[in-house]
């Protein structure tokens, strides 16, 4: 059914909260909404389903859609257009039972052609403390990918994104954006369930500066052969909106608040280059 252009334009002008209410009334939900149907997609042709070979767990607004698209383009990776990059399947198991039936259902979300691998990238997973233990139950052999970005810039982009998505303008929304920047704390939790050699931590700024080298390292980590996608510096899911303004004093307070966590991060992942995060560059000396 084709929706008239005028109706589509009118719909786009509605507030996000109203748009969400309308699509929910029609039984349509996003994977992060209450009410999403997690019945796995049907298999096509000779596809089989199984545990993911790789799972990206973080972080929001750090270029994960771009990086996932580059991984998905590799001929050794299965990625279907009708299956979202962000499964969000594990997001609700903080207070719901997670046993063999839930594990099998999760595996159903990773159809792949023979001889290829499959995975997902849900950037919120890293800051959900219950995800690492359930992921370790569901996919203990999975390679785990983490793409980090300067915590202050990530905070501003993340908060802007959430507000544009219709999140209420409350301190709880701000707190959610702040909490997602405690990478050291989150990685410590992750490492309790996945050994460091099973986790690849990347920096967004380094990927932007030198995608060829970083992508080659990513493919190698995933056990994929060398491959050159036709367009490395594509823009995927880039926000054109102005970021939330930030008072310089408030920015410094946030830097101070993150400083000990950033130091912890560097102790966990010595390859992190703080020179790429100017607010924290002084910590290298």
């Amino acid at each position: 059914m084709r929706v008239p252009v005028v109706a589509r334009q009118a719909y786009q002008r509605l507030p996000v909260t109203v748009r969400s209410a309308l699509v929910h009334a029609g039984g349509i939900y996003a994977p992060w909404d209450e009410g999403f149907d997690f019945t796995p997609p049907a298999l096509h042709g000779d596809e089989v389903a199984g545990p993911p070979e790789f799972v990206g767990v973080g972080v929001q607004k750090a270029g994960t859609s771009w990086w996932y698209s580059l991984i998905a383009e590799h001929p050794g990776v299965s990625d279907r257009d009708d299956v979202p990059k962000e499964r969000h399947y594990l997001s609700r198991f903080a207070v719901e039972p997670f046993g063999p039936a839930e594990v099998a259902r999760y595996h159903g979300w990773f159809p792949r052609r023979p001889g290829t691998i499959a995975g997902e990238w849900t950037p919120d997973y890293l800051c959900y403390p219950w995800v690492a233990p359930v992921l370790a139950m569901a996919a203990p052999e999975a390679k785990v990918l983490v793409l980090l970005r300067d915590p202050i810039e990530r905070f501003r982009s993340g908060l802007t994104f959430r507000l544009n998505m219709g999140a209420p303008e409350t301190s709880a929304t701000v707190a959610d954006a702040v909490h997602q920047g405690y990478y050291g704390r989150s990685l410590r939790r992750l490492y309790r369930h996945f050994p460091a050699e099973q986790v690849l931590v990347l920096q967004y700024e380094r990927c932007r500066a030198n995608p060829e080298i970083q992508l080659a390292a990513t493919y190698a980590f995933l056990g994929l052969e060398a491959f050159e996608p036709p367009e490395l510096r594509r823009e995927v899911n880039v926000s054109r909106r102005e970021k939330v303004p930030m008072d310089p004093g408030a920015r410094q307070r946030l830097v101070d608040g993150y400083a000990s966590d950033v130091a912890d991060l560097v102790s966990l992942v010595p390859s992190i280059d703080l020179a790429l995060w100017p607010d924290f560059a002084g910590m290298t000396s």
Binding site: P15, V16, T17, V18, S20, W32, D33, E34, H88, S91, R92, F93, A94, V95, E96, P97, F98, G99, D124, C127, Y128, P129, W130, P133, V134, L159, L163, G166, A167, P168, E169, T170, S171, A172, V174, A175, D176, V178, H179, R185, V244, P245, M246, D247, G249, A250, R253, L254, D256, G257, S260
Partner: protein, 290 residues
């Protein structure tokens, strides 16, 4: 006379969910022009009631910074029912004072505005209840800077029971972005992390940590400890009734409870080294072996 405070106060009577249904541009206009916000909203500001005759304002002498659903507000109210403590007014409006200042300027003018919420007569102390004071990391240092001599009283509750109660209270917020909703609820139970953060901005001798279960078991014993900590005459305090904590029922099946025990155990273990007198036996979820 400006109409803004009056209109803003009247608009705040409209329930927050109605406010949030409006287009964001309209909300922003109403927020900027008329101050139509609620405590905890970005941009919320409210004036304190005028200080009574003979009262002076100043930073709070003590702070009760949560935790949510552990009975902290009831504890704060019980503490303030003492003749040497000023009766708080408008504490619900002052409660989130620093919560919306994460990205905003905050200086001595802001601190002076905060201190106006705490009038007290000579010889009295004044207290502040801050439900975000531990959970929101930018609030803790701002509170400490605005109240440099304050003593802090933290009420903890078995994190699994606290989580159950919190989920019941906030059920209506679960509709969208389930993960973020759960993250906030779960994160508030990692007490050691929050206390360690607090102890980076205040000395340990200005912190008293209590357990709600101990408060239920023997309210007078706990209030005597509070009065010693705040240097109040315990003999002048009326008897305190045992509290009623927010009830979460028994919604977690055993396997979920086991998942949560595993999730919180390491943080609870750290509490033993962090909180003098911490009584693990009051939290049956964490008394067994892993």
């Amino acid at each position: 006379m400006s109409l803004r405070p009056t209109v803003g106060r009247a608009l705040r009577q409209v329930p927050a969910p109605v406010h949030r249904l409006l287009p964001s541009a309209v909300r922003a206009e109403l927020r900027v022009r008329w101050g139509w916000t609620h405590p905890g909203d970005v941009g919320f500001r409210s004036d304190p009631p005028p200080a009574g005759p003979g009262c002076a304002v100043g930073p709070p002498d003590f702070i009760v910074p949560g935790v949510a659903d552990a009975g902290a507000r009831g504890w704060f109210e019980a503490i303030t029912r003492h003749p040497e403590i000023a009766r708080p007014e408008g504490e619900a409006e002052a409660a989130h004072f620093f919560a919306d200042l994460c990205t905003s300027p905050c200086d001595s003018t802001t601190f002076a505005a905060f201190q106006r919420w705490f009038p007290r007569r000579p010889g009295q102390q004044a207290g502040h209840w801050s439900p975000d004071g531990l959970a929101y990391p930018w609030v803790t240092p701002l509170l400490a800077a605005a109240s440099p001599e304050a003593r802090w009283l933290v009420m903890l509750r078995d994190p699994i029971e606290r989580l159950q109660a919190g989920l019941v209270r906030t059920e209506a917020e679960r509709r969208t972005h389930v993960g973020s909703y759960l993250e906030d609820a779960v994160d508030r139970g990692f007490y050691s992390e929050q206390l360690e953060h607090l102890l980076t901005v205040i000395p340990a001798d200005r912190l008293l940590v209590a357990q709600s279960e101990a408060w239920i078991r023997d309210p007078d014993h706990l209030m005597a400890e509070v009065d010693r900590f705040l240097e109040l005459d315990h003999g002048r305090r009326s008897p305190v009734a045992p509290p009623r904590l927010p009830d979460g029922g028994s919604r977690f099946v055993p396997s979920v409870r086991a998942q949560l025990q595993s999730l919180y155990r390491e943080d609870v273990d750290r509490l033993e080294g962090l909180v003098p007198g911490f009584d693990r036996t009051l939290w049956p979820n964490f008394t067994g072996s892993a």
